[in-house]
Amino acid sequence: MAAQDNGQAPLLELEEIVKAFPGTLAVDRVSLTCRRGEIHALVGENGAGKSTLMKVLAGLYPPDQGRIRINGQEVRLRSYSEARRAGVGVVYQELSLQPELSVGENIFSGAWPRTRLGLVDWGAIRRGSREALAEISVDLHPDILVSSLPMALRQMVEIAKVLNQSPEILVFDEPTAALSRDEVEGLFKIMARLKERGKGIIFISHRLNEVLRISDRITVMRDGRKVVTDLAGAFDEDRLISSMVGRRLSEIFPEKPASPEAPAQLFSFEGRLKRSGRRVAFEVAQGEVLGLGGLHGQGQLEMLESIFGLGHCDRTELRVSGRPVTVASPTQAIAQGFALIPENRNEEGVFLILNVLENLAAATIDRRTTLGFIHKGAEARAAQGMVERLSIKLSSLHQAADSLSGGNLQKLVLGKWLISEPKVMVMLEPTKGVDVATKQQIYALIRELAARKVAVIVYTSDMLELIGLCDRVLVINQGFLTAELAGPEITEEGIMKGSVSTLDLLGGGN
């Protein structure tokens, strides 16, 4: 169905938006328009800048440069409420519902209608809730606790909540990620209805078949820039993929050595992911850097964390050099020679209020004690050794950790684990929030570890890292293994295809 503007200004215009963060240019002069009654899809790889662009629209970040126009009028969106008042409604992937409150309360969140006496008007809440849900053809009792609803219905409540504020522009951020086929159909019907009523819809998704099906126009972003905007009919999956990939290799990766003839198996993992019920298995050979790729939140983190004893998988079997090992907790994992570089450095990896020495010694405290007393000298030597090996810039070992930059903090985490001389090193987003120079050092370190017969498994959402760093890449989608690429097979197209594929290599089909 064609969008109608009848010669007026388009509903939404984002003009030459620029948004930078320290170290990265997240959005680089992107322009986008959305018309009334149009579904405009925004597509791109992890880190392409789509979410940042939408956060600018939602009022979270003011743009460094560029203008936003709604109905031809320029607007400044400096907060969530200003964006809401300007008519922008965003349905986030992580919903903004309060689980302990009812459906009705959530839909009116904060702006509960009152009776003449000033008391909360539950009648009005219930009526309004039913009406808001009816607009999207959903029937839910207003008193139902959100915590007892399944994800799909929660999303419906979220949509109703957003619609309740009568937005003209709606942004859906990855709405189909957690939905079944039927539920996706239901959502698309809603989007079609909204389109008929003249709303402008921006739809972010990785599921290219859905994008091609439902959108009127598609914009592809890459590396913070807009690559192309065209009618949906002018795209097919291949053109989409090739527009999404093709990023410039800005980092320098160390050379990958030739793989030995019959490499020894250093580590093998087999388990059943709790959330998908599917079986996943892989091995890491000597000298090999294994990468886990795919879109965000497809189960990669859960798989790798369960290696470390954080229980997201059932029936796990781990083998180190062929010998089975049991790991039920991080303490046991470390004893078996495993190490985990966590995804959220500040919350899970470093002790910001402690000093560098204490941070580096954290995973191996007991190895340098006699009768409970710490060998301070040995500890200091080990720490100093790490500082030198990793070139961490410090004024003293007793410096507080929170005075270090992101890159140096990551080195701190690495150092902590390297001191334990692990046999299996699992790294989750190892270069997140790290400057370019440190990134290169980390890549070199990873290569070195692999050469030293450490099984290295890297999870990264950055495709270039997977291509440049790993010898083999496993692509995971929706909790199962969809592609296994080795050597020259590791390309952006290959990874992208695997990320959207629904074929389970290890089990049945979709």
């Binding site: 309060q98 969140s109 909360v120 008193d143 709790k274 229980g311 907790s329 046991q332």
Partner: protein, 336 residues
């Protein structure tokens, strides 16, 4: 599950326990089910109900109020130190002075906590000491007097209905309405559930918190005032037992220490259970010293159940206790 069902599940257990204990008491003592005894119970329960409601409000926002005992003490002392005894003015002052004082003290708590971003625990511990000091300053030893008219009315009857019963029922109803029918009350739940989300919904979190502590102070003052009428005098340390008791009753009445969940509907049941435990111990000729033990145990059990995510599953609980430290607990991350 609907909110109605959830509330039932939350509050039914305590009322079931209440009925059981009440019946047990009737069984153990012939005179338990007499009018006199029940009226006596109403009188003893009233301050506990108000103190626990105060604590519930604060806990719902995710905080705690350790100064409640001192506010009760101070307002109690004020209520018994008013000038012009036996005059109409005295009565008016009795209503106004302690209540306003309680409100003010509570507001100060709230202002310090939100203004400085400090932990409610340490702030109310400190202010509790200050208020207690003030009480001891005004009245170093128990004494003072309360107007006869007030004392007789508060502990008397309105028609055939005992006054204390009316007082605590009215108080509980008012508090319940506050929580369920006002924007302020609903904001408390949103705030306690997830403060960031509440803030983004446009709720003035700071202001709500300040007034929550203020209201708690007011409710504590009502307890202090009632105590003064009942004891016919003032005692600076009258509120001490209420610190632990109010927390215990709030918890067993269904309010979660994490905030955002619970309410005052179960308070009357909880207060009765607490009071009657002591009664039963007396009746069974067990020394009343055991009430401290009983109180502690009840609180621990109630907390263990609610802290494990509300799974009222002693089996799961036993399993967790007996597992070696560090073993996984079925999909739950974190220590232990």
């Amino acid at each position: 599950m609907r909110t109605g069902q959830r509330d039932l599940r939350l509050y039914a257990p305590i009322y079931v326990i209440f009925i059981v204990i009440y019946l047990l008491s009737c069984f153990l003592e012939a005179n338990f089910f007499t009018w006199n005894n029940n009226v006596n119970l109403f009188t003893r329960i009233t301050p506990l109900v108000f103190a626990s409601m105060a604590q519930t409000l604060v806990i719902l926002t995710g905080g705690i109020d350790l100064s409640i005992g001192s506010i009760i003490g101070l307002t109690n002392v004020l209520a018994a130190s008013l000038p012009y005894p036996e005059s109409g003015l005295n009565v008016v002052l009795w209503f106004l002075v302690p209540a306003l004082a309680g409100l003010a003290l509570g507001l100060i708590n709230g202002l310090i906590i939100t203004g400085g971003g400090f932990s409610p625990l340490i702030v109310t511990l400190a202010t509790g000491a200050i208020w207690k000091g003030l009480s001891l300053f005004i009245m170093p030893v128990p004494g003072g007097e309360v107007s006869l008219a007030v004392a007789r009315t508060a502990t008397g009857k309105l028609g055939a209905v005992p006054m204390p019963l009316l007082i605590f029922l009215a108080g509980a109803l008012a508090c319940h309405r506050l929580l369920t029918r006002t924007r302020f009350g609903r904001s408390i739940y949103a705030l306690g559930g997830n403060e960031t989300l509440a803030y983004e919904s446009g709720i003035a979190c700071g202001r709500v918190k300040i007034w929550v502590y203020g209201t708690a102070g007011l409710l504590a003052a009502l307890a202090g005032m009632f105590l003064s009428a009942r004891m016919f005098s003032g005692d600076p340390l009258a509120g001490e037992p209420y610190i632990l008791n109010s927390i215990a009753v709030a918890v067993i009445a269904g309010t979660s220490l994490a905030g955002g969940r619970g309410g005052v509907a179960g308070i009357i049941g909880g207060a009765y259970v607490f009071l009657l435990i002591n009664n039963i111990l007396n009746l069974l000729a067990i020394s009343s010293f055991y009430q401290y033990v009983a109180k502690g145990l009840i609180l621990i059990i109630a907390l263990a159940i609610t802290s494990s995510g509300g799974e009222i599953s002693p089996a799961a609980w036993m399993r967790r206790l007996l597992k070696p430290a560090g073993a996984p607990s079925g999909g739950v991350d974190g220590p232990g």
